[in-house]
C-alpha cells in the first residue's frame, strides 16, 4: 500500500466507528450489547493507530526530500481561483501528529470501556469519542486550508458534545456552551487569517501556498503579519492561551477520560500544530512570532500560579495543561518546532496518565473531586499512586522522565535566540519550579496523611459510594436513573482495561524522552526535518554549555519544587500553606480567583454585549423597527386606502357605469390613435 493509502485508512477507521456505533445506537443501548460499542470504538482507533504506524514506516522508505505526499480523492470546491480538493498531506509533521493522536486515543478508549461502564450513555459516548478522533485526524492530515478549517470546527463541535455529555448537569451544559463559543471565536480568527494569506498566495493548497509565501510576501509585510496574528487567535482559542483560556478549566465538567484525551493530550495541542504547520508564514511575520512567544510565556506563568491554589483535582491538572501548552506555544513561536512538538508528545503521555490517575481517585471518592476531602490513598491505591507519581515526575521535569528532556529542549532554543528572549527563558524556569510545587501538592494531599473515610473503606476492600450522588461542582443531587454519570464508579485497581491503559501511558511517560536525548540522538528532530526544509529557524542546534546548564537548572528547580511541596504538605501537614495564604493575602486572592479573567471577560465583553442586546430589543426594536418602519408602513397604507375608500360605494349601477365609461374612453383613445 502506498503511504497516502495508509493516511486515508487512518481517517476511515474512526469515521467508520462513529457511523457503526451511531447507526446501531438502539442495539447498543440494550444492556446485553452495551459493551460492544466500547470495543468497536476501541478497535476502530486501534486499527487507525496501526495504519498510522504503516504510514510512518512507508514514509521513511522515501528519500528525505520526497516525504511530503499529497493525495486527493475528489474536488471539494473548484471554482474561479479556488482549488479546494478533498486532499490529505502526509508528511513527517502530520504523521507525527496522527501517531500521537491515535496512540493516546487508543489507550483512552480502552480506559473508558471500564470507566464509563455504568453510564447509560455508553454507546453515545463512544460514538462522540470516535467522532472526535476522526475530526482531530482530519485537522492534522488536511492538505489544504479548507479541510483544516473543517477539521478545526469539527473538533470544536466534538469537544462541545463531550464536555456537556452529562447534559442533566447544568454546570456541564454551561461549560459546553462556553467552550463552544470561545472555540468559534478561534474559528473566525482562523478563517479570516486564511483569507489574508489566500489573497496573496492565490491557493488553498498547503504546499503550493508555502512555496509561494516567500515570493508574494516580504518579511514583516502588513498582510502576512495580520494573517498570522489571526491564525494565532485560532491557535490561542483552541489551545487555551490567555485571554481565550477560560473555557478549559470549565471543560473539566466532562467525563475524566474526555479531559485526558481532548483537554490535555490532543485537541488543545492543535494550536501548537497550527503554528508549526504554518511556519513558512510565521517566519515571514516576526511580530506574530513574538506575540505567540510572549503570550505562551505569560500563560505558562499565570496558569502555574492559579494551579497552586485550586482545590479541584481536575482543575489543577487543567491549569497545568494550560501552562504546559504555554511552553509549547512559546517553543514553536520562537522556532523550536521539534522541541515544541516533542514536548507535545511527552506531555500527551504524562498528562493523559495524570488525568487517568485522577479519574481513578475520583472513582474511589465516589465522584468527589475536591483535594480538601482527599487524603491518604497511598496504601489503598498503590497502582494509581505509582502512576500519579510517574506522571508527576515527568511533568516536573525530573530526569530521566520524559518531561525533563522536552521542556529543557524548548527553553534551550528560547535561550539561544538571545536578546529579550532571556526574559522568556527565566519565566520558563520559574514556571518549571511552580510546576513541581503544584504537581506534588496534589500528590501529597491526595495520597499522604491519615486515610479518610473512602480510603479506609477501600483498604478494607470496599469501594466507597456517596450516600446520595451529587454534582461535585455545585452540590445538586443527580439523576442516576438515566446514568448521569453512572451510579457505580471504577478504579484502576479493580479494572483490567484501566490498568492496561495506564501502564502503557506510564511506560511512555518514563521512556518517551529517550527518543531525543541531546548529544546522543536527535530522533524527533531528524524525523521532522523534511517538513521544515524551507525553514530558516529549523536547525540542528549546536549543543554547548547552555544545554548542560539548562538541564542541571531544570533538575534542581524540579527537585526544589518537590522539596517545597514536601515541606509544606507532608512535614507541615498544610499549615505553612495556610500561613502563607494569610501573609500574602492579596496575591492568594488573585490566584484563587484565577486572576479574575472570568470577571474581566464578563465586564469587558459579556456585559457590554448583553447591554447592546437589551438596547436592541428594548429601544431599537420598539422605537425604530416597531414604531418607525412597521408603524410607518401601516400608516401610509391606511391613509391611501382612506382616500380611495370613497370610490367603493357598493352601488352596482355605479360600477357598471364606471366600467362602460372606462371602456368607452379606451375605445375612443384607440380610435383617435389610428
Amino acid at each position: 500500500m502506498s503511504t497516502t493509502t495508509y493516511g486515508w485508512l487512518v481517517l476511515a477507521f474512526p469515521l467508520l466507528g462513529t457511523i457503526v456505533i451511531g447507526a446501531g445506537y438502539k442495539t447498543f443501548s440494550s444492556p446485553a450489547h452495551a459493551r460492544a460499542a466500547g470495543w468497536i470504538g476501541t478497535a476502530a482507533i486501534g486499527l487507525a493507530f496501526l495504519a498510522a504506524l504503516g504510514c510512518v514506516f512507508s514514509l521513511q522508505s522515501h528519500a528525505p526530500h520526497d516525504r511530503q505526499l499529497v493525495s486527493s480523492l475528489w474536488n471539494y470546491a473548484s471554482t474561479a481561483g479556488v482549488d479546494a480538493r478533498m486532499s490529505i498531506l502526509v508528511d513527517p509533521l502530520s504523521v507525527f501528529m496522527i501517531l500521537v493522536v491515535t496512540g493516546i486515543s487508543t489507550t483512552i478508549h480502552l480506559y473508558s470501556v471500564s470507566y464509563m461502564d455504568a453510564d447509560r450513555g455508553f454507546a453515545r459516548y463512544f460514538a462522540y469519542l470516535n467522532f472526535f478522533v476522526f475530526s482531530m485526524l482530519l485537522l492534522v492530515l488536511a492538505g489544504n486550508f479548507l479541510l483544516l478549517i473543517v477539521g478545526w470546527a469539527f473538533v470544536g463541535a466534538a469537544s462541545y458534545l463531550l464536555i456537556s455529555f452529562w447534559y442533566r448537569r447544568s454546570t456541564a451544559t454551561k461549560a459546553g456552551i462556553k467552550a463552544f463559543v470561545i472555540n468559534v471565536i478561534g474559528d473566525i480568527g482562523l478563517v479570516l487569517g486564511t483569507f489574508f494569506l489566500f489573497k496573496h498566495t492565490g491557493t488553498l493548497d498547503f504546499l503550493k501556498a508555502f512555496a509561494a509565501a516567500p515570493h508574494v510576501f516580504s518579511e514583516g509585510e502588513g498582510d502576512v503579519v495580520a494573517g498570522c496574528l489571526l491564525l494565532l487567535v485560532g491557535a490561542f482559542a483552541k489551545s487555551a492561551q490567555i485571554p481565550l483560556h477560560t473555557w478549559l478549566p470549565d471543560a473539566m465538567e466532562g467525563p475524566t477520560p474526555v479531559s485526558a484525551l481532548i483537554h490535555a493530550a490532543t485537541m488543545v495541542t492543535a494550536g501548537v500544530y497550527l503554528i508549526a504547520r504554518m511556519h513558512p508564514f510565521f517566519e515571514l511575520a516576526p511580530a506574530a512570532q513574538d506575540v505567540g512567544a510572549i503570550v505562551g510565556a505569560v500563560t505558562l506563568l499565570v496558569a502555574a500560579t492559579i494551579a497552586l491554589t485550586q482545590t479541584d483535582i481536575k482543575r489543577v491538572i487543567a491549569y497545568s495543561t494550560m501552562s504546559q501548552i504555554g511552553y509549547m506555544i512559546m517553543g514553536v513561536s520562537v522556532g523550536a518546532y521539534a522541541a515544541g512538538l516533542f514536548h507535545l508528545m511527552t506531555h500527551a503521555f504524562f498528562k493523559a496518565l495524570l488525568f487517568m490517575s485522577a479519574g481513578s481517585i475520583i472513582g474511589a471518592m465516589g465522584g468527589e473531586q475536591s483535594l480538601q476531602k482527599m487524603k491518604g490513598f497511598k496504601r489503598a491505591m498503590p497502582f494509581t499512586f505509582a502512576c500519579f507519581v510517574i506522571g508527576g515526575l515527568a511533568l516536573s521535569g525530573i530526569p530521566p522522565f520524559s518531561g525533563f528532556f522536552s521542556k529543557d529542549e524548548i527553553l534551550l532554543v528560547v535561550g539561544e535566540r538571545g536578546g529579550w528572549h532571556w526574559a522568556l527563558y527565566v519565566v520558563g524556569y520559574l514556571g518549571a519550579f511552580l510546576t513541581a510545587i503544584y504537581t506534588f501538592r496534589m500528590i501529597f494531599r491526595a495520597f499522604y496523611g491519615d486515610p479518610t473515610e473512602p480510603a479506609r473503606e477501600l483498604e478494607g476492600g470496599h469501594l466507597y459510594h456517596a450516600p446520595e450522588p451529587t454534582n461535585p461542582a455545585n452540590g445538586e443531587v443527580e439523576d442516576t436513573d438515566v446514568g448521569f454519570p453512572g451510579p457505580t464508579h471504577a478504579i484502576a485497581e479493580r479494572h483490567m482495561p484501566m490498568r492496561i491503559a495506564m501502564s502503557i501511558l506510564a511506560v511512555g511517560a518514563v521512556g518517551a524522552g529517550l527518543i531525543q536525548i541531546p548529544n546522543v540522538d536527535y530522533g524527533i528532530e531528524k524525523f521532522l526535518e523534511p517538513s521544515f526544509y524551507g525553514s530558516t529557524l529549523y536547525t540542528v542546534h549546536t549543543r554547548d554549555g547552555l544545554l548542560v546548564f539548562g538541564l542541571i537548572l531544570g533538575t534542581l528547580l524540579g527537585l526544589g519544587g518537590i522539596a517545597v511541596a514536601w515541606r509544606i504538605w507532608v512535614v507541615g501537614a498544610g499549615r505553612p500553606a495556610t500561613a502563607m495564604q494569610e501573609r500574602f493575602k492579596p496575591l492568594y486572592t488573585l490566584f484563587v480567583n484565577k486572576w479574575y479573567f472570568d470577571e474581566l471577560i464578563d465586564v469587558a465583553i459579556v456585559r457590554p454585549t448583553a447591554m447592546m442586546g437589551r438596547f436592541a430589543t428594548g429601544t431599537f426594536e420598539r422605537v425604530f423597527v416597531d414604531g418607525a418602519i412597521v408603524g410607518g408602513a401601516n400608516a401610509v397604507v391606511r391613509a391611501c386606502s382612506a382616500s380611495v375608500r370613497a370610490a367603493q360605494t357598493g352601488l352596482l349601477r355605479y360600477y357598471a357605469a364606471l366600467l362602460v365609461l372606462g371602456v368607452s374612453a379606451l375605445g375612443l383613445y384607440f380610435l383617435l390613435q389610428t
Binding site: Q648, T649, G650, L651, L652, A656, V660
Partner: protein
Amino acid sequence: MNIGWYLAVSAVVFCVGAFGVMTRRNPLVVLLCLELMLNGANLALVAFSRMWGNGDGQILALVVMTVAACEVCIGLGMIVAIHRRRLPIDVDELRELQG
C-alpha cells in the same frame, strides 16, 4: 348587404343593454340587459365572421352564448337566494360592500 347595418343594429342592442344595466334597479332586469349586451357583441362577431368568410367568429359567438347561459344560471340562483332571505330585490339596496 353592407356590414355597416349589422354593426349599427349590434351597437344599438349593446347600448340599450348597457343603458339598462346602468339604470334599472331590479336585478332580474339587470341580468336581462346584460344578456342584451352579450347578444349585441355576438351579432357583431357573426357579422364580421361573414364578412371575412371565416368561421372563427361564429365559434366564438357560440362560446359566448355558453358563458352567458352559465352566468344566467348563477345570476338567477342568486336572485332566488336573495328572495328566500327576504332581502329587497333591488340592486341599490344591496350595497353592503361599500368601502
